[in-house]
Amino acid sequence: MAIKLTIDNQPVSVADGATVLEAAQATGIKIPTLCHLDGVSSPGSCRVCLVEIEGARTLQPSCVTAASEGMVVKTTSKTARQARKLSVELMLANHPWDCNACVRNGECDLQKLAQDMGIAEVRFPYVKPATPIDQSTDALVRDMDKCVLCRRCIGVCQDVQGVGTLAPRNRGFDTIVGSGAGDNLCDAICVQCGQCSAVCPVGAIYEKDSIEDVWGALDDPSKHVVVQTAPAIRAALGECFGLEPGTCVTGKMVTALRRLGFAKVFDTNFTADLTIIEEGHEFLTRLKKALADGDASVKLPMFTSCSPGWINYMEYFYPNLIPNISTCKSPQQMFGALAKTYYAEKQGIDPKDVVVVSIMPCTAKKFECERDEMNASGFQDVDYVLTTRELGRMIKQAGIDFLSLSDGEQDSPMGMSTGAADIFANTGGVMEAAIRTVYEVVTGRELPMDRLHVAPVQGLQGLKEAELTFQNCLDDWKFLEGVTAKVAVAHGLANARKVCEMVASGEADYHFVEVMCCPGGCIGGGGQPRLTSNDVRNARIKAIYAEDEGRPMRKSHENPAITQLYKDFLGQPLGHKSHELLHTGYAAKQPAATS
């Protein structure tokens, strides 16, 4: 049923249950907000969105006030303006206003609110006692002095990710956002996904900065510094320079990286294709053992392993699933291991002089590259990880005018890839890429689906399922004749939990499950430009599929550089060298609070 109300003298009609804020937005009236996060939470605590409602005794926060029939709302009246301004002034009174030295300078919601409201000076003295900055993890920094207690991070950590690391503690003036029961994030169960840092409106949670380390390597003439970019970067980096979400900037990105001084500009897409070959064969081997050989020790479903936040989550909360997780390393780590072996050998460079830098949409990748087992090359395989946001900052630091750059192309051999690798960037993409290859390996025919897309696993629904029946199989795969493979795709850890529970209870009989830690997949990663709303997710995903469809090669097994890699170096999928360099194992972490 529709409700009719008036906002700033304009008649508005909205669905029953809409808030005043939503009603205003539907009319194109902008009310400032801070704590409200679309689709996640509205604690109604910041009072930045106060409006005047006729007949109400006090001003109401529009983000949590339901629109009702006949309501008369004023958003621009003097009282409303002054009250909103006061809310921001009080926040600033508890805030060290040192914007020039702050990581969020120029892209800070609080700064912007203060500007918009014309707050030129802070009338109240700063009295908050200093809290030490928490640098205890590889991925994230927490500076609680900057926290404005909007609780967006808590909403995301508890509801979207279902991890629950963050919670408010103490009361009144002493309230802070705590992690677990200790002072430092490293002591809490945290998967380092960085989703909290992606929604924080101020400089209170952010990625641990590796820019200086990377400059150091680039400035060292004895080092050969190569860079890989994750599939999701190209669809988001442009946002750091004011481009619309969903603008693909692959060519400019490559040129910018070359200008920054990287010796080779490679692509994580290359090892995404490789992942499909290794993981696809691992999947088929598991199917064969389970279905044809009756080997009960083989665990199905097989879960994907490219998302380090998911791996962390699984190790904390569902270690029983370890035998189900693909042993494939993530594409980032496969790349590092090969750069310091295959590539170094081919180029005749001492691997100790090779520095591998990754550009990732993800903060957990910073943690992943530091894992003890990630040194198959004899060195730390990936040296430094920069988030998309950090790369944006680095390009600005170098004084590069990104928008005027011409398009460049990745170097070979580790820069060559197919459309199947592109779609690793979004939820459903790894599954689709795997199906494109697996189906063709088993039947010898191309996947018979419209434009090679597995439509049921696309899109932002939290949990997606699809079925695929093998028919007219090649001789080697006759045991799959008529078999229907069931697959599932989950993104966001709260959805991953649902799948894990269904698998643990035996309720689900999937064969293959893709999990990406972040909502929307890597395009919505914790290291991407802010703010990633669902509209932004959809725009980035659209750009990625367009990139895929524009490619001459769209199946991983068609990548000639991968064929060459097996011929010259690896031998065969799942072979001895692969096991040494490209596969890994997992271990249970501290028992989780919820186990």
């Binding site: 508890q158 690391t165 919670a167 503690r169 009361r171 677990g180 029961a181 609070a593």
Partner: protein, 162 residues
Amino acid sequence: MSNPTTEAGCGNALFAELGEFIEGQSKGRDALIPILHKAQDLFGFLPVDVQEFVAAKMGLPVGEVYGVVTFYHYFTMQPRGRHTVNVCLGTACYVRGAQKVVEALTEELGVKMGETTPDRRFSLTTQRCFGACGLAPVIMVNDDVHGRVTPKKVAAILARYE
């Protein structure tokens, strides 16, 4: 997280009792506060390992439990001493120098307000008005009221409690 108190023998019986109590409660967040009350009755205070135990049993993140414990003044993460020293900070006491008494007490005992001495002899807390304003400034040690306290008298009062 490793859980020394649960693994070592000492607290096992208490943990078992708390565990049983939790089983008997309704599932979900609502039961958290009664459960924490019970835990504090059993242990006397709520150290982190007790909170972790509660969180694990209830399937809640430990941070959430910690948040509740630190929100309510009733809950304490400090073990109680054998004697509780309670300083009145009501208006009358305050005006008559309660703050000086607080300073003398914290100095004498070497702990801050809300803390317990390492030998567990005293816990130090404050309260708003005991209703003995005529005797201001007032402190209570356990159930004994001591009136017209001056910083100088503090040591002698404490000496009476072993």
